[in-house]
Symmetry: C2
Subunit: 357 residues, 2 copies
C-alpha cells in the first residue's frame, strides 16, 4: 500500500519543521511570507490534504454532523435536508446521513434496537453534533428508547431535534407548530362553508398524528359535530390516503364535504382514489393538507396545504446546534408562527381555470 503523504514529508521537502507546515495549513499568521509561499507551493504540488482523523484526535472536532431522518424517501424531509446542507456547508460541516426508516413501517422492537445501537455508535464516535428530523422520535416506544440511548451517551455531542418535544429527553427541540398548521387548513375549509369534514392519514398512537388530530378536532368543535366515521388513520404514505378514501366511499352513501389529509403524500393518494371513481377535488369534495412538499403545484388538483417553512426551521436548528457545539450561551431565535396557508386549488377557494372539461 502506497504510503500516505504526511505533514512530515512536506516539512522535509520544504526543509522546515512540521510545526511551521502546520501553521501554514491553519493560516496561523506567524509565518514569514517567503516561507509560507514556499511551503504552500510544496503542499499544492503534492496535493497534500491533512488527515482529518489526526486533526480530530487532537482538536476533538470532526466537522461532521449526523442527520437522523426517519424516511429519506419523504420529499418533505429531503427538502429539509437540503436546507440544512446549504447552511452546514459554508460553516465547514459535512452531513452524515442516518436513515432510520422507523416511521410507520411497523418495525418490531428488536429492529428498533438495532437501529439505536447503530445510532449510538455513530453519535459517539465521529460527529460534533446531531440533528434529528421528526418522525423516528414520534412512536412512543421508539421515543423512549431513543431518549434512554441519548441519555447514556458519553458523547458530549449536542442534539437538536426538529419535532415534538419529548419529556425527559436531554436535547434541544425546535418544534414545528403542528397545532397551527392543522388549525389553518381546517379553518380554511370551515371558512369556505364546509361543516362535514373528515381527517385522513397518520398512524394511530403516534404523537404527530395525535397532535394534528387533536388540533383538527379542537378547531372543528366550535362549528360542527365531529363525525368519527370520517376519521380514518393508517400511516403517512400515498397508499394510506388511497385506502382511506376508498373506505369512506365504500361506507358512505354520500361524499363528505371536505377532508383534511395529514400530509401531501396522503392527499396525493386521496386524489388518485377520487379519480378512480370519476371524482375530483374540489368539485366533488374539498381536500386540504399539511407540509407543502415540493410537488404540490403539479398535483391534479394543485394542492392547498400549509407550508412549514423548512428553510427557516433548518436554519434555526443549525443555529442552535452551532451554538451548542461552540459552548456558547444559547440565544433565542425567532421561531413563532411559521406555518403558512398555501391556497391552491384542492379546497376550491380559488376557482379552477376556465376551459376545463
Amino acid at each position: 500500500m502506497k504510503k500516505n503523504i504526511t505533514i512530515k514529508e512536506i516539512a522535509k521537502q520544504a526543509g522546515t519543521s512540521v510545526s511551521t507546515v502546520s501553521r501554514v495549513l491553519n493560516n496561523n499568521p506567524s509565518v514569514s511570507p517567503a516561507k509560507r509561499a514556499k511551503i504552500q507551493a510544496i503542499i499544492d504540488q503534492n496535493h497534500f490534504q491533512p488527515s482529518m482523523l489526526a486533526r480530530g484526535m487532537v482538536s476533538h472536532k470532526t466537522n461532521t454532523l449526523a442527520v437522523v431522518v426517519s424516511d429519506i424517501n419523504n420529499p418533505y424531509f429531503t427538502d429539509l435536508i437540503s436546507q440544512i446542507e446549504q447552511n452546514a456547508r459554508p460553516a465547514g460541516y459535512t452531513l452524515l446521513l442516518i436513515n432510520t426508516m422507523t416511521a410507520g413501517t411497523g418495525q418490531d422492537a428488536s429492529d428498533v434496537q438495532v437501529e439505536i445501537e447503530a445510532f449510538k455508535r455513530i453519535m459517539e464516535a465521529k460527529v460534533d453534533g446531531v440533528l434529528i428530523l421528526g418522525g423516528e422520535i414520534d412512536k412512543e416506544v421508539v421515543a423512549e428508547r431513543y431518549i434512554s440511548a441519548l441519555n447514556t451517551l458519553n458523547s458530549k455531542a449536542p442534539v437538536v431535534v426538529i419535532g415534538q418535544k419529548v419529556a425527559g429527553c436531554d436535547a434541544l427541540f425546535v418544534e414545528r407548530d403542528q397545532k397551527r398548521s392543522v388549525t389553518l387548513i381546517t379553518q380554511h375549509l370551515l371558512a369556505l362553508g364546509h361543516r362535514q369534514i373528515g381527517f385522513v392519514g397518520g398512524e394511530p398512537g403516534v404523537r404527530i398524528t395525535s397532535q394534528r388530530l387533536a388540533a383538527f378536532k379542537a378547531t372543528m368543535q366550535t362549528y360542527s359535530e365531529i363525525d368519527e366515521s370520517l376519521i380514518v388513520l393508517n400511516n403517512y404514505y400515498p397508499q394510506s390516503g388511497y385506502d382511506a378514501m376508498a373506505q369512506i366511499l365504500a361506507t358512505h352513501k354520500q361524499l363528505p364535504e371536505a377532508l383534511v389529509a395529514i400530509n401531501d403524500r396522503v392527499a396525493e393518494g386521496i386524489f388518485r382514489c377520487l379519480a378512480d371513481h370519476g371524482l375530483q377535488a374540489p368539485q366533488d369534495i374539498a381536500v386540504g393538507s399539511c407540509d407543502n412538499f415540493p410537488y404540490g403545484d403539479f398535483l391534479i388538483p394543485r394542492i392547498t396545504t400549509v407550508d412549514q417553512h423548512n428553510e427557516v426551521l433548518g436554519r434555526i436548528a443549525l443555529h442552535y446546534l452551532f451554538q451548542l457545539i461552540d459552548h456558547k450561551q444559547l440565544e433565542q431565535t425567532e421561531t413563532t408562527h411559521l406555518p403558512e396557508l398555501i391556497i391552491r386549488e384542492s379546497c376550491g377557494a380559488k376557482l379552477p381555470k376556465e376551459g376545463k372539461q
Copy 2:
C-alpha cells in the same frame, strides 16, 4: 470539559492491560472467557465506545462511505440512496452525504470549483470509498473538473460511479442502460401505433440527455420521420415538462400522438399542463417516461415508465466498492438488461378503469 472515557480507563478498572481490552473490543479469540466477561461488563457499565478517530488513525479505516448526489430532492436518487444505505449498514458502513446540486441548476464554473474543493477534501480525509450517483458528472464541464480532481487525489479511496462512463476517469462505472430504457418506452409507444412522437425534458449538452435523446431517435428512425419541433429540452424538473408541453400546445395546431418524457418528474409537469388545457393522457396524447420514481402509481394518469431496478444497481455498486476497498480481485456481477417497462395508464396500453368521466 468532561474527560472522555478511554480504553486505558477501562483497562485500569478491569485490572488488565489495554491490549486485552482492545482484543475484547475486536472479538479477538485469544482472551480467556472469564476475563472477557469481566471486561465486557465494565465496558457496558461505562457505556464505553472506542474512538473512531483513533481507530481510523491506526487501521486506516473510517467505515464511512461518501455518497455524492447531484440533487437530493430527486425522488429517484433518494430511492437509490435508501437502497444503498440498506446494503451499507449491515456491512458496517455509514454514509456521508454530499449534495452537489449541480444538475440543471445553471451553476457557474466558480461554484462548481467550490464544490469540487469540498468534495476533494471530504474524499481525501475521512472516507473509505466514494459512490457517485449520476448527475453531477454529466455536464461536460463539470465532469472534466471532477475527473481531474479524482485523478489528483492522494487518497486511495476507491470511487464507483453509477452513471455514464467518462473517458479518462480513474473510477469504476456501473452504467445504467440508458439506451435500453428509452428504447423500451419508445418501442412501446410505437407498438401502440403511434408515429408522431415527441421527446421532452433534459438539459441540452448534458450526456444523459444526449444519450437518451439519441436512443429515442435511433428507435424512431426505422418507423417514422422525426419531427424536430416536438423535441423540447430544458432540464429535469416538473416545471420543465410543464413549459415544454405549453410550448408544444402553443406552436402546434394539433397535439402530437405521443411524448417521451426524459423522466417521471418531467412527465408530471406534462400531465399538469395537459390538465390545465382540459386534456389528459392517454386519451388525448400518450405519454411515456423513464426512471419509475416512487409516486408513479399515484399520478393522474398512472405513469407508464421504465424501471431501472435501483435495488440491483445499488447492490452492484456497493459490491464493487467493497471489493475495491478490501483490495480483492474484482469479480464480475450480473449487470445486464436491468431496465424494465412498467405499463400503467399513461400510454393507453392498459385501458383506464371503467366509470371514469
